[in-house]
């Protein structure tokens, strides 16, 4: 039997507010445990929550960027359950009246098509603390630094039909919230976490199958693996005539295994009710307009402009616009050197691969700046250096060894020799030392093979010029001399 895969996502996005959603503690990551938890975060008796206006502003910005209705009157509820890293014994969240109503986001598919994914709603809530199970013999440690960090939970409709689409949505969302500046996007620090709802149904059927929820996936790769894993698991059961149990599952990415966390029957009764410590929040037109005016250029808008203004192809424009720091870098470098296509090549080639290797998520944290890459490209264009030389200059720039392109060219002696007289002498000498190859070349009629044989002379020529001969000029001289 053929099956359709149906996927919906719930995504927790940590908002990049300076302080927590209901207290004045810092939200900065990585401090000593419990040094960023005040009396409110610790749920000391008598303490009360006061909402952070910026969290609302960021949520509204998200809503506007996803074409959503903004909840003019939103309300907080208490979701009751006991857990050691949940200090109050309830999470303050939104259920009946969330801040962001139905919206949507379009994703690019590998086929080149776009697909619209509907967003059911997004609500504001507080993050929990962390339980630490290592380093405490027979006990657990509790770190409440994260408790009270503002989140928006984005809940999609079940509109995705493959792991690729789900990942494309997740990446697009990542690009959106980082471009908006409402989330730092650092997945390794838990800034975005995914829950994936998956079900299968007979191909073409209108009726949805029973779904499972795989919780707390914190990278695109794990999310993709987990979806493949869960689809396979469900497929095996269904193909054997079995039934899917509605349940919450945990996926172990390191082992590519999943296990049931709890079934529907074991699910908590969260006993939601309106939080009496917080009044409903009314959002007025001026607040929304202010948020609208503070929206930066969104990734889709920027992609269109990069294609228009810089004549980039769709793929390059997509990659660059998905990361606002990258896009800023691109525009600055292109303005300086006037070679957008080359800047795009460097960004998507050498720079992307080095960032990837070294796990650098923000280009602004690399040693190399847009002004520097622009000078490098200028020196390639004016033939001061060869492309081989440019790689060496880049290495020196990347490692922070030096930040002046010209100084590196000077220090490393990478300046190309373009003096035709000197180059001709070198060609003459090399050809004289390789009579057999010269003869073979001259007896060859196939132009492709001849071109290949030219390469055989380039090595010795570059050696003779200590790597500084202009390869383009060498080539011209060679062709001319061998043809004589």
């Amino acid at each position: 039997m053929q099956w359709d895969i149906v996927i919906g996502l719930e995504i927790h996005v940590q908002l990049a507010t300076r302080t927590k959603i209901f207290s004045g503690s810092s939200t900065a990551y990585g401090a000593e445990p419990n040094t960023q938890a005040n009396a409110v975060d610790l749920a000391m008796p008598g303490t009360l929550p006061v909402p952070n206006e910026n969290a609302f502003r960021y949520a509204v910005m998200f809503g506007l960027a996803t074409n959503a209705e903004i909840g003019r009157r939103s309300m907080f509820e208490r979701k009751n359950y006991f857990y050691p890293d949940l200090p109050k014994g309830y999470q303050t969240t939104q259920l009946a009246q969330p801040i962001v109503g139905p919206g949507h986001m379009d994703i690019d598919l590998p086929s080149g098509d776009t697909k619209r994914v509907r967003i059911h709603h997004a609500h504001l809530e507080e993050d929990a603390g962390k339980s630490l199970h290592e380093d405490f013999h027979g006990m657990s440690g509790i770190d409440l630094n994260r408790a009270g960090t503002p989140l928006i939970e984005v809940v999609t409709e079940p509109d995705m039909n493959s792991a690729e689409e789900a990942v494309a949505f997740a990446k697009k969302l990542h690009s959106l919230v980082t471009s908006l500046g409402i989330c730092d996007g650092d997945m390794s620090q838990g800034s975005m976490r995914f829950d994936v709802n998956i079900s299968l149904k007979p191909k073409g059927s209108d009726e949805l199958g029973t779904r499972t929820e795989t919780k707390n996936l914190n990278s695109f790769r794990f999310m993709e693996q987990a979806i493949h894993h869960e689809v396979e698991r469900q497929l095996d059961i269904l193909e054997d005539g079995g039934r899917i149990v509605q349940e919450t599952r945990l996926y172990n990415g390191d082992r590519d295994e999943s296990r049931s966390m709890r079934t529907k029957e074991e699910a908590n009764d969260y006993r939601y009710f309106p939080c009496p410590d917080l009044l409903p929040v009314e959002i007025d037109d001026s607040f929304i307009e202010e948020a609208r005016n503070s929206l930066p250029e969104l990734p889709d808008e920027r992609k269109a402009r990069l294609m228009e203004e810089y004549d980039l192809n769709s793929a390059d424009a997509s990659t660059i616009s998905s990361d606002s720091n990258m896009a800023n870098f691109f525009e600055e470098a292109s303005r300086r050197c006037g070679e957008p296509k080359l800047v795009a090549n460097w960004l998507n080639g050498e720079i992307a691969s080095r960032m990837n290797q070294e796990n650098i998520r923000n280009i602004a944290l690399a040693f190399i700046g847009p002004d520097v890459i622009a000078s490098l490209i200028t020196r390639i264009k004016d033939s001061t250096i060869s492309s081989a030389g440019a790689k060496k200059v880049f290495d020196a720039l990347w490692t922070g060894e030096n930040d002046s392109v010209d100084a590196i060219i000077e220090d490393k002696g990478l300046k190309q020799v373009s003096d035709t007289g000197a180059l001709e002498t070198m060609v003459d000498e090399v050809l004289a030392s390789m009579p057999e190859q010269v003869e073979q070349y001259q007896n060859e009629d196939n132009p492709k093979k001849r071109k290949k044989m030219l390469g055989g002379f380039m090595g010795p020529l570059m050696k003779a010029s200590k790597g500084q001969g202009n390869p383009k000029l060498f080539n011209e001289i060679l062709v001319r001399k061998l043809g004589e």
């Binding site: 009396a39 008796p45 008598g46 009360l48 208490r78 200090p87 109050k88 009710f273 917080l278």
Partner: protein, 485 residues
């Protein structure tokens, strides 16, 4: 000195006849000597009080005195006090020392008042007799001479007993369903529950957040006004406190009551009220008529639903509010937990008393899946109807008057085995909390030698009007000055 009001003590201090250190020492000595009979204090802060008194004398010498500077008083042990243990009457918080002050505590400190200690109360403010305290029952100073130990009411029973026994001239209280007014009535003192949102709840340990309100307890209306002058006001740390100007509540005490329209809710003079109680309340109302007030009957048709609605809403909120007492971060933790579930269950089973557990169970049930609509939501709808009743009544009258309790102080142990009989103690007070209104209890006579209270209920933010009405009554009567023998 112990018979003097806050206003009088303030004048004594201002005249220089006595220093705060001397005054504080006198009250501390009396407290230590007398409180064995009442058990009205959980914690006495002798050293801190004397240090504060010294600071108050310095403050006065520096010309920065307020009416409260150097005047002794006490806090109900529900208000967190920085560095002084705050128990909320529970084993759960027996050793809890907050590293912060409640906003109310902060304000009294800033005014230079001298806190002598923390008064006894029903555990987590759940009770109407002060018998649910982990620190023992409080005995009402009234009726002791007849040899019978009576309850002071609750949950602010310690504060009420301490003020009635002249251990302090004033004490803070909190009122969720009658917890200021009922003990004030049973102990023969004056108490005011302000409008919801008038006094900050920050640092006041929550029982039912949408109903809890801090308030004032003293012998005279004037002292209640002086207290409210300190306590009232917007607090950016409490999202439910209201940003509205605070008048000087003493400024309007002397206004005439001529032409004031008083409504008597028919439903509050029902057969639940004994004839003797009804007589005392009606006598008090006659005094108002003498002063030129106009009395008419009004109806609160949904008042009879108040207790039922309250005992869904308050426990529901409490069930969530008390979840934080889990043994993880502070407070009581059971011995040698074998795992997390064991720690949770034994900590809470051992740390909470029966009445608290009963209400957590009721509240948890009311919010459960499948019951929410039938209980919690229904109760909220009823709450709106009750509010509407009051709004309608205040279209015709300025204040409402009624009894505070169905009967005077009952004997200790009399109702402890019958929770519903205990809940009916608040039959005349609970609707006011559901509607968020201000109300006072004022001493209005005696039945069998025990004090009877008159309840004066006002529209939102009419505290000045209530205090004025109470003060004018006290200018013509001396019930509030009677001292228990």
């Amino acid at each position: 000195m112990h018979n003097k009001s806050v206003a009088e003590l303030s004048r004594e201090l201002e005249s220089g006849k006595i220093s705060s250190v001397e005054l504080t020492q006198q009250f501390l000595d009396r407290l230590k000597q007398e409180d064995g009979k009442y058990n009205s204090f959980i914690t006495v802060c002798e050293d801190q009080a004397l240090a504060d008194a010294k600071a108050a004398d310095d403050m006065r010498a520096a010309g920065r005195a307020t009416p409260w500077t150097g005047v002794p008083f006490a806090h109900k042990d529900i208000f967190c006090t920085n560095g002084t243990r705050t128990t909320c009457g529970s084993k759960m918080l027996e050793n809890f020392v907050p590293p912060y002050d409640a906003t109310v505590a902060e304000k009294f400190k800033a005014a230079g008042a001298v806190c002598l200690g923390k008064t006894n109360m029903d555990e987590f403010a759940m009770g109407s007799s002060n018998e649910s305290s982990h620190f023992g029952a409080v005995t009402n100073p009234w009726g002791l001479s007849s040899g019978q130990k009576r309850v002071p009411g609750g949950s602010s029973g310690g504060s009420a007993a301490a003020v009635a026994a002249r251990l302090v001239p004033a004490a803070t209280g909190t009122d969720t369903g009658g917890s200021i007014r009922q003990p004030a009535a049973l102990c023969g003192i004056s108490g005011l529950k302000p409008t919801y949102g008038r006094v900050s709840r920050y640092g006041m340990i929550a029982f039912a957040s949408s109903l809890d309100q801090g308030g004032t307890m003293a012998r005279t209306a004037e002292d209640n006004a002086l207290m409210l002058n300190v306590m009232a006001g917007f607090d950016p740390r409490d999202s439910t406190s209201i940003d509205r100007e605070v008048p000087d509540y003493t400024a309007t005490l002397d206004q005439s009551l001529k032409g004031m329209k008083i409504g008597l809710p028919r439903e509050y003079f029902s057969d639940q009220l004994s004839p003797a109680m009804a007589e005392q309340v009606r006598n008090a109302i006659s005094e108002y008529e003498k002063q030129g007030a106009i009395v008419q009957e009004v109806s609160l048709p949904n008042a009879k639903l108040a207790i039922a609605a309250y005992y869904v809403i308050a426990p529901a909120e409490a069930s969530a509010n008390l979840s934080r007492f889990d043994g993880v971060r502070y407070g009581y933790r059971c011995e040698d937990p074998k795992d997390l579930m064991d720690m949770y269950t034994r900590t809470r089973a051992e740390g909470f008393g029966n009445e608290v557990k009963r209400r957590i169970l009721v509240g948890t049930y009311a919010l459960s899946h499948g019951y929410y609509d039938a209980y919690y939501l229904q109760a909220q709808k009823v709450r709106r109807l009750i509010q509407q009743d009051f709004i309608n009544a205040f279209k015709d009258v300025d204040v409402l008057m009624s009894p505070v309790t169905p009967s005077p102080a009952f004997a200790q142990g009399e109702k402890t085995t019958d929770p519903v009989a205990m809940y009916l103690e608040d039959v005349f007070t609970i609707a006011i909390n559901l509607a968020g209104l201000p109300a006072m209890s004022v001493p209005a006579g005696f039945v069998d030698g025990l004090p009877v209270g008159l309840q004066i209920i006002g529209d939102h933010f009419s505290e000045a009007r209530l205090l004025n009405a109470a003060h004018q009554f006290q200018q013509a009567t001396d019930w509030h000055l009677r001292e228990p023998k």
